[in-house]
Symmetry: D2
Subunit: 234 residues, 4 copies
């Protein structure tokens, strides 16, 4: 069975900004905040750190940044789904704008992830791409206009709302995250209040003056939004 | 400083045949044989297991199956050289026939490896490719005709001798290994006696009825060849 | 303005089976049949023959087998959309199973084609891929399960009907073709009678004993189906 | 038999700067200058224009900007060597920095070109890449540091001389061209006088105020260098 993820959740990755011990320190900070605020956190780790982080954290869900669709056997240097699972990964990011996939490979890789109960987190660019991907039924869809990634500029609310409703019209079970260009905890709060089931940040945190406190604050603001939404729905 | 490797040495990888605990068991067997025979062994591990194996073995030298040339920063899903180094990798395989690289990327990636003191193990196909790659001055060159890989058929001795002398004529410091299609310890012995500084096997071991004992026997035969060569040179 | 295409139409390509004069002879045969039966025919030609065929035929619509999304300027060896247009291409095949594209590149390339009034003919594999691509609004969608291409086995009618209705539910303006594995004129007729707006064949014709007469017969059967459908709709 | 090329020669391409009729006009200008100065000129044309230009010029040798190594048969959108040959191409550019090839593909494609008597024009970046490629024995080697291409900055003479002697030491039959960053006829002259068997320009001509006259002047300066060299060797 796939790991359960409770909404709203937070997602972060380290991309290639840090490595080794620094990734572990960042993962520990994410884990502490996940516990402090009782918020689910997806932590996208480099392949080399998936096992280490999985074994040394309690609450974060470790995801791989990509995987191939191949099956055990020959080959070299591919990312074998079974190896990720064995190392403790709970899910995988697919079709990130820095690692775009053909539609056919994306479909096959989502199928492989489902076979191994790995949660699929699929990135899209425009609304039409998000709609396209919705037909492949990933667990989580992250529409982020490529020009915003790492830019410090966020999507505008009309795009956010449009893309959520476009995706849900095709498959209401898909969770929709906003992540492009997020640099403040307030943006995290705003996107969730606007209907996103998750918010995420990587560059925005790792290039900030105090990454650990910003990470904590962002996860705290997911909690704040969650409480506010619960109040409204009462 | 790069790790020192003593010739003749043995090299093995798991490709995608096994994953998780089975890789660790195989690595432990390689480590035990490396100690038993006092022979250096390169162990090419999946990215996810590099750290785990490095921390839990004593003698084998863990290599990554590939890396990118990029530097810390943006990106997603690339194999960052610094991350491999931090995880304990002592070297990296480049240009494997299942992960061929452009000449330009190969040059840049060898430069990056040198910068981080990672040993470069570069695969070639024909003699002319081996000569070409010799001009990029990798530490180890592994010429293996693509049609032999995983085939259970080995290179003939005339190819082996021709390619060694062709490579040494360009750069005598490059260590030359034979690995394609090796399935028996006798072949390991023969290739080293013919002038190879190393022999390697992956499919030949992992698809055999008793991989651990074949692995041990192969490493033992590297010892046997080493002793025989020492005797001759006395 | 894009060239107008009347349904039902026929589509053929030469892939790499033939080249040079043989392509021209095949194009002339397609052109003659298009005139004989007054049926629109898309002829996918190698880049090198697009201009030559466009200038020496009257009725067939010459398509390129692929193009890049780049704009005039630097680069080398890319397929510049403006160059195809200038050579006489009326449209372009995208995402063929032998040249799969990332979703993002596919979107951008469809946009470029629209900008230049080139008709987009986009291939898909499964129904879910066809639905995905429908959100990118190509002019023609050709769902062909990869395992059938060049196999001599055709899609079954339930797949054909399912995929047509799935695509039309998203965008009724998209024309849907069936092409995978077609080897007989009767199959052409059957697919069109089942609701396909077009049928196509390449390997099935070019590896047959008498390609020209089979090509003529297939285009004749498009006519036959067209007449039959007209009669029914009277 | 391959077309004979007399040294020193000139080479130009249009990259993606121009297309259609503008390519033909540029080809006609190159052809006229080739005749005026009795100098061999390689003209790298987009695939779509190879046949048209070959049939409408007398002296220039039309080259393709790339080709694949595959053989006639299945596939789609590849550049089939036989199709280039049939269209009139006399040679092919391989491994351009905007279309880098794996070492293995480069070797196979050079072999295919030799099989069809197509002249191979292979690009390299640094001296070590040029040496590497020399072992694959192309007909022409064009070492051009990637950072100079389209930059308007030329290689310095010490690089030019070093790379020529490094290549000739491996295979004296390889013709060495200089092309990176050339913007003036004087540079063409200087590179040839320094030992290059050819000079080439693309961006430098096509982004100049008067491309046709600059093209003519450059080819004229190849003549001037040729006459000067002949005088010296008398």
């Amino acid at each position: 069975m796939k790991a359960k993820i409770r909404v709203p959740f937070f997602e972060t990755s380290v991309k290639n900004y840090i490595y080794g011990d620094a990734v572990m320190a960042y993962a520990k900070a994410a884990d502490a905040a996940a516990k402090e605020y009782d918020i689910d956190v997806i932590f996208v780790a480099p392949y080399t750190e998936i096992r280490w982080i999985s074994e040394n954290t309690d609450r974060i869900m470790v995801f791989a940044p990509y995987m191939d669709a191949l099956r055990p056997g020959r080959g070299m240097a591919e990312i074998l789904p079974e190896a990720l699972k064995a190392a403790g990964a709970k899910g995988v990011v697919l079709n990130h704008s820095e690692r775009p996939m053909t539609l056919n490979a994306l479909k096959k890789t989502i199928d492989r992830a489902n076979e191994l109960d790995l949660i699929t987190f699929v990135c899209a660019d425009t609304t039409s791409e998000a709609q396209a991907i919705a037909h492949l039924h990933p667990d989580i869809l992250n529409p982020e206009p490529a020009e915003l990634i790492g830019s410090g500029k966020v999507s505008d609310m009309s795009f956010v709302k449009e893309v959520i409703s476009a995706v849900k019209a095709i498959d209401p079970a898909i969770l929709v995250e906003q992540a492009a260009g997020i640099t403040t905890a307030q943006q995290v709060y705003d996107f969730i209040m606007a209907g996103s089931e998750a918010a995420g940040a990587a560059s925005g945190i790792l290039t900030s003056p105090d990454p650990f406190s910003l990470l904590n604050e962002m996860i705290g603001f997911v909690r704040k939004a969650k409480d506010e939404l619960a109040k409204r729905n009462r």
